[in-house]
C-alpha cells in the first residue's frame, strides 16, 4: 500500500497517551478510534487542540510515523484497537515496545522498524511536504520514502507475516494442536 503520513516526532509515546485508562472500561472493541491520543487531541472542555497533529488537516493518511520507543508502558491492547479504529494500518518507528508490537500485529496493524537515519529523514520530508508518500510492500518487506526514492528492508516474524498476508487466526492454529496439548499435559508434572 502507498499512503501519506501523519507525523508524531515524539519519543517514548506510552500507551497511556495512546489510550488513557478511563477508556479501558469498554466491554467491546468498538469506538476506540475516537479516543486515540484523546488528551492530546482535546482539552478538558472537549475542544480540539489545534496544535496537535491529528487536528491539523495538513496531515492525513493511513501511516503513523512516530519517534522511538512507541507504545511503551501498559499491555493494553486497547492501544492497538485505537490505532486501528482511527484508520492507521501502519506505524513506522525506529523502536517499538514488545507488547505493543505484538498487539498491533494481532490486530492487523503493521509496526515497521526503520533505522534512525531513515526515520529522521522521513520526518524531514514530511515537514517540508505534507503530501510525502510512503510505499509499504509486506511481501518484499520493504518500506520506501517515495520523496527521496530511499527504501529500507524491515524485519517481521515469518509466521506473523504469513498471518497478516492471509488474514489468518492464531486460535485456529493453537486448537489444531489439541492432541499435542494433551500429550504435553500427560508427560509433564503440574501442581
Amino acid at each position: 500500500m502507498t499512503s501519506t503520513c501523519v507525523p508524531l516526532p515524539l519519543e517514548n509515546v506510552d500507551t497511556d497517551q495512546i489510550i488513557p485508562a478511563r477508556f479501558l472500561k469498554a466491554t467491546t472493541k468498538d469506538g476506540f478510534g475516537d479516543n486515540l491520543f484523546r488528551d492530546w487531541r482535546y482539552d478538558k472542555q472537549g475542544n480540539q487542540i489545534g496544535s496537535f497533529v491529528l487536528n491539523d488537516p495538513t496531515y492525513s493518511g493511513q501511516i503513523l510515523v512516530a519517534g522511538k520507543n512507541f507504545g511503551s508502558g501498559s499491555s493494553r491492547e486497547h492501544a492497538a484497537w485505537a490505532i486501528a479504529g482511527y484508520g492507521f494500518r501502519v506505524v513506522i518507528s525506529s523502536f517499538f515496545a514488545d507488547i505493543f508490537k505484538n498487539n498491533a500485529l494481532n490486530n492487523f496493524v503493521l509496526p515497521i522498524v526503520v533505522s534512525e537515519p531513515f526515520l529522521a529523514s522521513l520526518f524531514n520530508c514530511i515537514s517540508k511536504n505534507p503530501e510525502t508518500k510512503v510505499e509499504v510492500n509486506l511481501a518484499d518487506q520493504t518500506v520506501i520514502n517515495t520523496a527521496l526514492g530511499v527504501s529500507e528492508h524491515f524485519e517481521i516474524n515469518p509466521y506473523k507475516k504469513h498471518c497478516l498476508m492471509n488474514g489468518l487466526d492464531d486460535i485456529d492454529f493453537l486448537l489444531s494442536n489439541k492432541d499435542k496439548i494433551e500429550a504435553w499435559e500427560t508427560e509433564n508434572q503440574q501442581f
Binding site: D16, Q17, T27, T28, G73, S74, E77, D170, I171, N177
Partner: protein, 464 residues
C-alpha cells in the same frame, strides 16, 4: 549452559512453528475485569469454552472503588465491566474473587499470597505488571486481550522466545534504601526501552538478601525498562514464603515440589545474551522527576540539565519537565507535594505498610496532604489489623481504604487533580496516569511517608 528462563521455557514447549513462534503451555491465567471482556466474548462467538477452567483465577481490581464496596459502583461503565467479569466467571465455572470476597485484591498481590504462583510455572495475565510473579521463580509476563482469548481457548499461547539478560546487584543496601529504590535505580540506568526484547533474571547479593515482598516489588517493575519479564531463582526465602499458603502443595506433594523447585536455577556456566552489573552501595532513596519511570534520580540529586540529554531526546525531555512544572538542574528536596498514595501491585503489601508505619509512628500527617492508604488485598488489610499497624496509621492522621488498584491508574474515583503533585508508591508516572494533568512522583513507601509528614519532598533518612 542453560539459564533458568531457558529451562522453564523449554519445559513448556508444546510445539514450534517453523520460522515462527513457540506454542507454550500456560500453567496459570490470571484474569481481571479490564482486559478480559472482549476475550470472553470472542471465545463465545467461536462457540468455545475455556479448555482448563481450573487453571484460571479471576478478580476485579482496576475499577473497584476503595470505599463503600458494599454499595453498587456509581460509574456505570466501571460497574458493567466488573459485572461482566463476574458473569463470565459464573458462566464458565471459573474461580472468581469478587469485591468484598475475603481473597479479593489486586491480582498481582493476591496470586502470590495465596500460593497460586509457584516456581517453575508459566503465568500470564492481560496486564503488564504480571512480571511481578517472576519473583517466585516463574516465567510470568503480560499479554494483550487477543492472547487472553488464546489462553482461554487452548491453555497455550504463541510467543517468540525473547533474549536473556542477567542483572546482578552485588554489595549492600544502605539504611533507608528499599527494593523499590533498587528497581528505580536500575530503570534509570537502563532507560524505559533498555531491556526491550529481553527476559531478565535478577541475581547477586542484594537480590539474595531481599525478602519475597521486596523481590515482588523488583520483578513488578521489570516491564518499566521494557523487559518481557523479570525473575529470581527460588531459594530458602521462596520456600519459606510458600509453605502453608492455601493453594501451595501440601504434605507429600510439597516434598515432590521442593525437589523440583531446587533444580530451578541457571547453570553455573549459563550464557545470557547480556550481563549487567550494579553495586547496591551506589543506590540511594530514589524519586522520579519526569513522565516515565526511567526519569528517576537519587532523592538528593538535581534534575539533569538539558545539555546532558542527547540532542534527539531534548524536545521530549523539555515537554516532560514542562508537564511536571520542574526545571532542569533543580533540586527536588523541599518541593511541595499535595497527595501521597501508598498501595498498588508494586508496594501494597504488609512490609510496605510496616515501612510506612515505622516512619509515621507517633507523628502526624501534614494537614495539607491528602493521603490514600490502600492495602493490596483484604489479606493484607487483615495483617495490618493483626499487627496494630492500622492504629499507628489512624493515630498519625491517615485513613485506611479498601483494596484495589486505586490511584495507580485512577480508573476508579481516586484521581489526582490536574496540576497537583502526588508522591506515589505505584509504578508509572506517565502524563495523566493518576488523572488528567496529574503530576506523579514515583517513590518507595519510606519516601512517601516522609512526604506525608512534611508536605514536601523529603529524604526519609532524615526522619529515621
Amino acid at each position: 549452559m542453560n539459564t533458568l528462563f531457558d529451562k522453564i521455557w523449554d519445559a513448556h514447549l508444546v510445539t514450534k512453528v517453523e520460522n515462527g513462534p513457540t506454542q507454550l503451555y500456560i500453567d496459570r491465567l490470571y484474569c481481571h475485569e479490564v482486559t478480559s471482556p472482549q476475550a470472553f466474548s470472542g471465545l463465545k462467538a467461536r462457540g468455545l469454552k475455556p479448555l482448563r477452567p481450573e487453571k484460571i483465577f479471576c478478580m476485579p481490581d482496576h475499577n473497584t472503588p476503595t470505599h463503600d464496596q458494599d454499595k453498587e459502583i456509581e460509574d456505570e461503565i466501571s460497574r458493567t465491566q466488573v459485572n461482566t467479569l463476574a458473569q463470565n466467571a459464573k458462566e464458565f465455572g471459573l474461580t472468581h474473587f469478587g469485591m468484598l470476597h475475603p481473597k479479593n485484591g489486586i491480582i498481582h498481590v493476591v496470586g502470590p499470597e495465596n500460593g497460586l504462583t509457584l516456581p517453575g510455572m508459566t503465568i500470564v495475565c492481560g496486564d503488564s505488571h504480571t512480571s511481578t510473579h517472576g519473583a517466585l521463580g516463574s516465567v510470568a509476563f503480560g499479554i494483550g486481550t487477543s492472547e487472553v482469548e488464546m489462553v482461554l481457548a487452548s491453555q497455550c499461547i504463541l510467543q517468540s522466545k525473547p533474549k536473556t539478560m542477567r542483572i546482578t546487584v552485588n554489595g549492600r543496601l544502605d539504611k533507608g534504601v528499599t527494593a523499590k529504590d533498587v528497581a528505580l535505580y536500575i530503570i534509570a540506568k537502563m532507560t524505559t526501552g533498555g531491556a526491550t526484547g529481553y527476559f531478565v533474571e535478577y541475581a547477586g547479593d542484594v537480590i539474595r538478601s531481599m525478602s519475597m515482598e521486596g523481590r515482588l516489588t523488583l520483578c513488578n517493575l521489570s516491564i518499566e525498562m521494557g523487559a518481557r519479564g523479570g525473575m529470581i531463582a527460588p531459594d530458602e526465602i521462596t520456600f519459606d514464603y510458600l509453605k502453608g499458603r492455601e493453594f501451595a502443595p501440601k504434605e507429600s506433594e510439597w516434598d515432590t515440589a521442593m525437589a523440583f523447585w531446587k533444580t530451578l536455577k541457571s547453570d553455573d556456566d549459563a550464557l545470557f545474551d547480556k550481563e549487567i552489573l550494579f553495586n547496591g552501595n551506589d543506590i540511594q532513596p530514589m524519586i522520579t522527576y519526569g513522565t516515565n519511570p526511567g526519569m528517576g534520580m537519587g532523592i538528593t540529586e538535581k534534575i539533569p540539565t538539558l545539555e546532558s540529554i542527547p540532542e534527539v531526546g531534548r524536545i521530549s525531555y523539555s515537554k516532560s519537565l514542562e508537564y511536571m512544572g520542574y526545571q532542569p538542574g533543580e533540586l527536588l528536596i523541599g518541593k511541595k507535594i499535595d497527595y501521597v498514595f501508598l498501595g498498588s501491585c508494586t508496594n501494597g503489601r504488609i512490609e510496605d505498610f510496616r515501612a510506612f508505619a515505622s516512619l509515621v509512628k507517633g507523628k502526624k500527617k501534614d494537614p495539607s496532604v491528602i493521603a490514600w492508604i490502600v492495602p493490596g488485598s483484604w489479606y493484607v488489610n487483615n495483617q495490618l489489623k493483626e499487627e496494630g499497624i492500622d492504629k499507628i496509621l489512624i493515630e498519625a492522621g491517615f485513613a485506611i481504604r479498601q483494596p484495589g488498584c486505586s490511584a495507580c491508574l485512577a480508573m476508579n474515583d481516586d484521581k489526582v487533580p490536574a496540576g497537583k503533585y502526588a508522591v506515589s508508591t505505584s509504578n508509572r508516572n506517565f502524563e495523566g496516569r493518576q488523572g488528567p494533568g496529574a503530576r506523579t512522583l514515583l517513590a518507595s513507601p519510606l519516601v512517601a511517608a516522609a512526604a506525608a509528614l512534611t508536605g514536601k519532598i523529603t529524604d526519609p533518612r532524615t526522619c529515621m
